[in-house]
């Protein structure tokens, strides 16, 4: 193992892995500093959507960034397949958000209208469909489904296999993955960064802070700012069943291997050690009102996980003015944006500066003097 690198990526989750893989792809010498197994790992608790619809209300740049990521995903999937022989099962044939009852339908229609009216927003192609129109694509919906929104850009992927593919790719790119190295201090002198970990000091010409919610404490060490507001989510997984759901939903998806994931609760609590059954009950009740046959299936797993969430819900990409070569990257949608992180963010880090026309809107300077940004990008 070497001790000096072109880039040290702090954080070995999906976001840090995507950036590190992208840097390795460009021939950089990269180290990934990760924590250990008992860390709250958002990358293992996600829902695995590659999702566009409803993203970016209040920040048109986020819509553009998300659409770009969605379009670049097939290239990421095929490069990973070529390099690692792992098929991440990317499926992008459009996704639904179903509504139960007329009130929900009306609220969703209002959201779609506001998205379309947003100036500068990329064209989403998000539209409302009646229950009978939904039924043409999803024949097993129940009588309570009032319709929903559909976006042809939406999709999903096997996120754990994506994670594994990145880590398999690390070896091919000679990237050093270094677990059990929480970073406690960072200093810069003589044109290089020194990162203090329990195991040894590590030196690198550049650093990328990709430590999820921990970016909040790491960023100030190098003159950066990353205000976070983590949330908790629960997921319920059923036994495998024959394919019945040809499109993913915001709250239900069937994996390539047949299990049905039910999820997307959003809670303020941050203890991920126990499930709240009252929340699982609501999620599963809604799922079986959408698809009545689900009530026959056994639940085989459920879990709670902590989600990475910048304070206003939108991604943060920034570079330090006081510590040149220090970057910070954090976002909620680490799966959806993985392609942008692997190709675009890695490229900009390698060249030494973020491009304002591409990611300038995501600078933490938006949390400025006139109060914190308060729209929800989630």
């Amino acid at each position: 193992m070497r001790t000096d690198y072109d880039v040290a990526v702090v954080g070995g989750g999906l976001l840090g892995s995507a950036i590190a893989w992208g840097l390795g792809r460009l021939g950089r010498r990269v180290a990934v500093l990760d924590e250990g197994d008992i860390t709250k790992r958002a990358s293992r608790a996600n829902f695995a959507l590659v999702w566009v619809q409803s993203k970016g209300l209040g920040m048109p740049a986020y819509t553009v960034w998300t659409v770009q990521a969605s379009q670049a995903w097939s290239r990421l999937a095929s490069e990973l397949k070529q390099q690692t022989d792992l098929d991440v099962s990317l499926q992008q044939n459009g996704g639904f958000h179903l509504t139960l009852g007329e009130d929900e339908f009306g609220q969703r229609a209002e959201l779609v209208r506001r998205m379309h009216n947003q100036t500068g927003a990329a064209d989403y192609k998000m539209e409302m469909l009646s229950a009978s129109e939904v039924k043409k694509s999803l024949p097993l919906i129940g009588p309570e489904v009032s319709g929903g929104s559909y976006c042809p850009l939406d999709g999903h992927v096997n996120s754990l296999r994506t994670f594994r593919a990145f880590h398999t790719g690390f070896k091919a790119f000679s990237i050093d993955y270094l677990p059990e190295r929480p970073v406690s201090a960072i200093s810069q002198s003589g044109g290089e960064f020194r990162l203090t970990t329990p195991q040894a000091e590590l030196r690198a010409a550049k650093i990328v802070l990709a430590a999820g919610n921990a970016n909040q404490t790491l960023a100030p060490m190098v003159g950066l700012y990353a205000p976070m507001g983590p949330t908790r989510g629960q997921i319920v997984v059923t036994e495998r069943t024959m394919p019945f759901l040809p499109h993913p939903l915001t709250t239900i998806r069937q994996t390539d291997e047949g299990t049905v994931m039910i999820g997307d609760s959003k809670e303020d609590e941050l203890d991920d050690r126990a499930l709240k059954h009252s929340i699982s009950a609501v999620m599963t009740d809604r799922a079986q009102r959408m698809f009545p046959h689900l009530s026959r299936l056994n639940v085989v797993r459920s879990w709670a996980g902590i989600r990475v969430m910048p304070q206003d819900g939108f991604p943060i990409y920034d570079q330090s003015e006081t510590h040149p070569g220090a970057f910070v990257a954090c976002c909620h949608s680490g799966v959806t944006l993985a392609s942008n992180h692997a190709f675009e963010i890695a490229r900009m880090v390698a060249q030494g500066s973020l491009e304002p026309e591409l990611v300038g809107a995501f600078s933490a300077s938006r949390f400025g003097a006139n109060g914190a940004a308060n729209n929800s990008g989630y």
């Binding site: 097993l140 036994e239 495998r240 069943t241 024959m242 047949g258 046959h293 056994n298």
Partner: protein, 98 residues
């Protein structure tokens, strides 16, 4: 595959395996009855389609999954046979509505 002991005097129970009438014995589990029958009782797994037979016979390994009276993914080793029971060898994932 297995041969029943001639000392086994338990009364017969008629079950149906993929529609074929089979004589099981009172107190058999579905898995035991399948193994003692002359039927091809091999299921295929949900993802790779590999062929499997009941293995642990005590509710742990889930290799005995079978459709019983229209309900898929049941553990045959934990369900006693009953007169007229309809058993289907499950091929692959649990079917919709079963």
């Amino acid at each position: 595959m297995f041969k029943r002991s001639e000392l086994d005097k338990r009364p017969p129970v008629q079950i149906f395996i993929d529609g074929v009438a089979v004589a099981a014995r009172q107190g058999d589990t579905v898995s035991a009855a399948l193994l003692a029958s002359s039927c091809d009782a091999r299921r295929s797994t949900a993802v790779s389609g590999a062929l499997r037979l009941p293995y642990c016979m005590m509710g742990v390994c889930f290799d005995c999954l079978v459709t019983i009276d229209g309900v898929g993914n049941r553990q045959g080793c934990l369900v006693p046979v009953a007169e007229g029971m309809q058993i289907e060898i499950q091929k692959g994932k649990r079917e919709i509505g079963k």
